[in-house]
Amino acid sequence: MPLQQLQQFVSLIYPLKEKEWNAFAAIWSPLECRRKTILTAAGETERHLYFVLEGVQRAFYIGDDNKEATLVFTYPPSFAGVADSFLTQTPSHYFFETLTASRFLRTSYRQAEELMQQYPNIQRMVLNVTALALKGVLVRQAELQCFSAEEKFRTLLKRSPHVLQLIPHKYLASYLGIDPATFSKLLGSKKI
């Protein structure tokens, strides 16, 4: 059943033929983690690619002034892990941790790389996933720089209404680049 979720997700990104899908399906193993488990540390090269079946995770950065920035949340269905470190096989700048108990399918760089060498369509699919991720990052960057706190807040709720229940507010505030007090105020004025 987990593989079904993965297949469904992948089919929306790029269609794979049966032979390609079977090869792709074979490289994934199940993984379960408790909440607040750090799966990748800054300075470590991301060895794995995750597909989220259950739970919420975040990637965050610790700055020089100890300011912590939450960069991205992942929840089903989506790929997860520190993507740039994985694809470039260079040390991650970020920490990747579970916020709640989580279940994943997980594969390794070596297995993914072998598969991409062998099947151009799988490489194409990975390229598409990467392009979508990049698109999301740029949209977000523009919003972070241009939107007011209220606009950012409303955009988040419109895009992912369920996050308020799933994710602790301090992390959401960090993600939006809003200070926690402002976030609470916006929350209070939100019409349920």
Partner: protein, 197 residues
């Protein structure tokens, strides 16, 4: 004796190590004056605690590496040795607190330091080496025995050595949290000096 699924144990130990890396990263950005301050006469500053931990890393990281490299392939189940398990349980902080105090052996008593950053850097480097070793250990039999730093006559299984080593670090990180709180004169949250935002 206590048994573990080898892979799950190593994954858990890696997660524990990453948590130490995260906390140490926050320490790196802390005011050096605070890190170097001793909370009382004869009591260790945060940097001295880290130096104490580093001194164990200097011995155990190469010892583990050599032991594992020379050993054979991985086995699914790891059976903890009774002594290794005992030492680990002795070290582990319970419910985030340390009740039984111990005196550090002579070779592992840290000197007074003037510069905080190199000590933290070394600690972080060692934790990354530890992560790599734990990754290597997934392919190896962690039942192979590693001589302890105290005496070569006592050898613990690699799996237990990892557990004991990390439990020891976790124990001292409780001490670091307490020390920071004292030196800062606040009841600090565990994640030292960081603000989400």
């Amino acid at each position: 004796m206590k048994s573990f699924d080898s892979l799950s144990l190593l994954e858990q130990l890696q997660a524990d190590t990453r948590q130490l890396i995260a906390t140490a990263t926050f320490l790196k950005n802390e005011d050096p004056g605070i890190l170097l301050e001793q909370p009382g006469a004869g009591r260790w500053s945060v940097i001295q605690v880290l130096e104490h931990l580093n001194s164990y890393g200097v011995y155990y990281l190469p010892a583990l590496k050599n032991g594992l490299m020379n050993g054979d392939a991985a086995v699914n189940i790891f059976r903890s040795g009774w002594l290794g398990n005992y030492f680990t349980q002795l070290m582990l902080p319970k419910e985030g607190r340390v009740k039984n105090k111990m005196k550090a052996p002579k070779d592992h008593r840290p000197a007074f330091h003037v510069d905080a950053q190199p000590v933290i850097e070394t600690f972080l480097q060692q934790q990354h080496q530890l992560l790599e070793l734990l990754e290597l250990a997934k392919q190896k039999n962690i039942g192979i025995r590693i001589p302890t730093s105290l005496t070569k006559l006592i050898r613990l299984k690699a799996g237990d050595t990892f557990r004991f080593f990390i439990a020891h670090e976790q124990r001292h990180f409780v001490q670091i949290e307490n020390t920071l709180a004292e030196v800062r004169n606040t009841t600090g949250k565990f994640q030292v000096a960081h603000q989400a935002g």
